[in-house]
Amino acid sequence: MKEQLVLIGNGMAGMKVIEELLTLAPDKYDITVFGTEPYGNYNRILLSPVLAGEKSVADILINPIDWYADNGIRLHTGKTIVELDRAGRRVMANDGTECRYDRLLIATGSDPFIIPVPGKELPGVVSYRDIGDVERMLTASREHKNAVVIGGGLLGLEAAYGLHKQGMTVTVVHLLPTLMERQLDEVAGRLLQHSLALRGLKFVMAKQTSAIVGDARVEAVRFADGSEIAADLVVMAVGIRPNMALAKSAGLLCERGVVVSDSLQTSDTAIFAVGECVQHRGQCYGLVAPLYEQARVCAAHLAAVGVPGSDRFYEGSVTSTKLKVTGVELFSAGDFQGGDGCDSMVYQDAAAGVYKKLVLRGDTVIGAVLYGDVADGAWYFRLLRDHASVAAIRDSLLFGPVADGEGNSKPSVLDWPDNQAVCDCNGVCKGSIVATIRSKGLQTLDAVRAHTKASASCGACTPLVEQLLQMTVGADYHAAVSTPICGCTELSHDTVREAVRCQQLKSLSQLFKALHWRNPDGCDKCRPALNFYLIAAWPGEAVDDTQARFVNERIHANIQKDGTYSVVPRMWGGVTNPRELRAIADVADKFKIRTVKVTGGQRIDLLGVKKEDLPGVWSDLNAAGFVSGHAYGKSLRTVKTCVGSEWCRFGTQDSTGMGIRLEKLTWGAWTPHKFKMAVSGCPRNCAEATIKDFGVIAIDSGWELHVGGNGGIKLRGTEVLCRVTTADEVEEYCLAFMQLYREEGRYLERTAPWLERVGLDYVQQHIVHRSARRLELAQRFRDEQRHFQKDPWAELAQADARERFIPIKELS
């Protein structure tokens, strides 16, 4: 029998938990939801656009009532839970409905704070919290003229702007001398007031409300100094209070809110709480992004399954704010006031109406206020949240992510890594937005929001999502028309790859199910590609399915036309010695190998080996110190070298040593297609490095690095990536290039067509111009080699692996 989960509060935070839970553990709970309001749940953040007439109530519904039934959830609308019996694990609603629970989730949100002044209960005095409040305001706006909004914070200003758009004369009354003092410093606050005044709002600043005056209905607002202003509608928007009455009455630990742990559990471990009603590590939050972060962690705990990385526990949120008043660009995050030990940087252009202030402690950004131009808000927010050091870019920090001294153009969302979250509210990463735009052929912002939920909550990331949409379907339209991998799916290589990452798919069976593959085990075209994408995305975690490998990679030898195999032992940099040659000769004699041939990549090929002889051949070669040469794989093949400065009278560097070094680092690495390298000791280029995937040519002052060459069907000379001076740099650039290709090249796409597709510029951006990116790629390559750099011959020559090389039965 399923456990009973009861949710009190049909709002954004609580229902986010339920939505996540339906994905993580759809069958774990019988779910019952109690909500005081008579609707399904809706996006409370978008009440302001509804008030302003920019959206309808229908636009902001997240889940209509039918959705609950469709997902097997019992929804009680219009019922408020009034009693919580923890001993009996039972809740009771105001209409007497009772419900037992195994786990309870409290998401009762917050109540608007009503200033305790005479007249506060007069008709015409409203708060600003729910659809009912918005409807009351809209009704009033049709019948009355003068509105007074008490409170010059985020909510108050949005309400004032909405009522103004509805045709009312609106006065904002604020207790303090500047607006939005919790998000803005004085300068920005004044700029904002000026801009809103130009739009027609009136302001009464630094006034304390002492009474609401009126007989049958509100008529005026009176201040402490005795002055009054006329009002037909008064909106109280001075703040919110966590709604913890029920929790408190049941004896749960409450301070400013319901106190929760990092797993979102209250002082009763059977009871969880999320949203505006909770207090976590001393903080209460009133913005959507933190509530959603809480919801994801809470759902994971309720599902009793781990979520990866730091998401497992909620450790608090860094928040940013954006005012939803059309035409007013304003961004605020972190500690924007500064103080002892902090520096601030300020940029102000009064004529252009732009103001930027950054607060730094040491070399990290701890706060930002942007007014007028908020395009870089997300970038500053990331610096802030990640505690990134800005030492190197301090002098240009105020101008946003511009040139880093190496000629980089301003990066946009297009340069973000695919796993970077674009929409922090809904946790949607760039890759999945792009993938969804492509796979569903989306053309409009609304469609993107409907399918991905990106920018569908607070809307702060809308410009980024629009940029992605434009990039994906606009200027680069031909790229968006992607071909499916094979007949098993409509999805393209890139889309599938993104899904593997974003949905954390780690096996073929998971992938086939999650992406609705038409054939239950794929086909010979997609299975090898998918297997590669899985092991490349999750090295060491995803299962490398040998049955999804082409015969050569399954048997670790090259199949020949007569069904025999060829065996190529690895010979580092093409260098060998008499002992190795004797061992090869012995193997050739012992197993009656018909043809021994030198390959194009400077190796020795033993041709005509019967399948059942392979383990024996390998074990003899292993005994002589050889490992597999991977002459059969979509992997590093060979590093071809010339003799270089050790012997050649023209040689400028030790090309042989460099080749051996690169080969020892990179052997065993799987790549989208085969990957060949060469190192030449001088520009005469005897190792033919200019037709390799990665070529190195020694020059007097160091090394010239080449990429994207191909000597096959379609001859293509390399392009010069850059020149470097040290051997360590050669190594780092080489590893970074291979890693970038592994992560972004499509299966069976050699570096040559890949480079033509993405452009040399793109590769240089990642490998040459951004040293941090290069280091990161190279390091990841080294880390992943722990999983890939294993000699498959040694493994397959083991006695227990040999069975697969012989007939299951022999008949006379």
Binding site: Q547, I559, G563, R802, I808, E810
Partner: protein, 138 residues
């Protein structure tokens, strides 16, 4: 691992003692578990190898291990659904009929095969009867 495969013989050439053909018509060739899902094992006969395939639904099929195109070893192909693609030139052969999938034309001899209590049995009568046919293929 079965006793026949590893324990009795030290060299991998003679994996199993050659088994005389019995008269029952069905010969037990091994356990289903010895055949990897979406893979194959071969039964060696004097008339050529027979590939015994196992798909993801645990259906078992037996075909002559010789692609009608250029003679590639089908047992090394990628199995998907009721198809195997030949490792040499990726012809698709239907496991249940031995026919090449259109537009390719060709057919490979098939053999009866059954699984009972986890053991795989190969039908030998057609093998004998098709001896002449196999010889012509050779």
């Amino acid at each position: 691992m079965t006793a026949t495969a590893t324990a009795e013989h030290s060299t991998i050439h003679a994996a199993t003692k050659p088994t005389p053909i019995e008269n029952s018509g069905w010969l037990a060739i091994g356990e289903l578990q010895q055949i990897p899902p979406l893979g194959a094992r071969v039964v060696r006969t004097m008339h050529g190898d027979v590939a015994v395939f196992r798909n993801s639904a645990d259906e078992v099929f037996a075909l002559l291990d010789r692609c009608p195109h250029k003679g590639g070893p089908l047992s090394e192909g990628i199995v998907h659904g009721r198809l195997v693609s030949c490792p040499l030139h990726a012809w698709h052969i239907q496991l249940d009929s031995g026919e090449a999938k259109a537009p390719d034309i060709g057919c490979v001899p098939k053999f009866p095969v059954k699984v009972e209590e986890g053991r795989v049995y190969l039908g030998l009568q057609p093998l004998r009867e098709s001896r002449a046919r196999l010889n012509t293929v050779d």
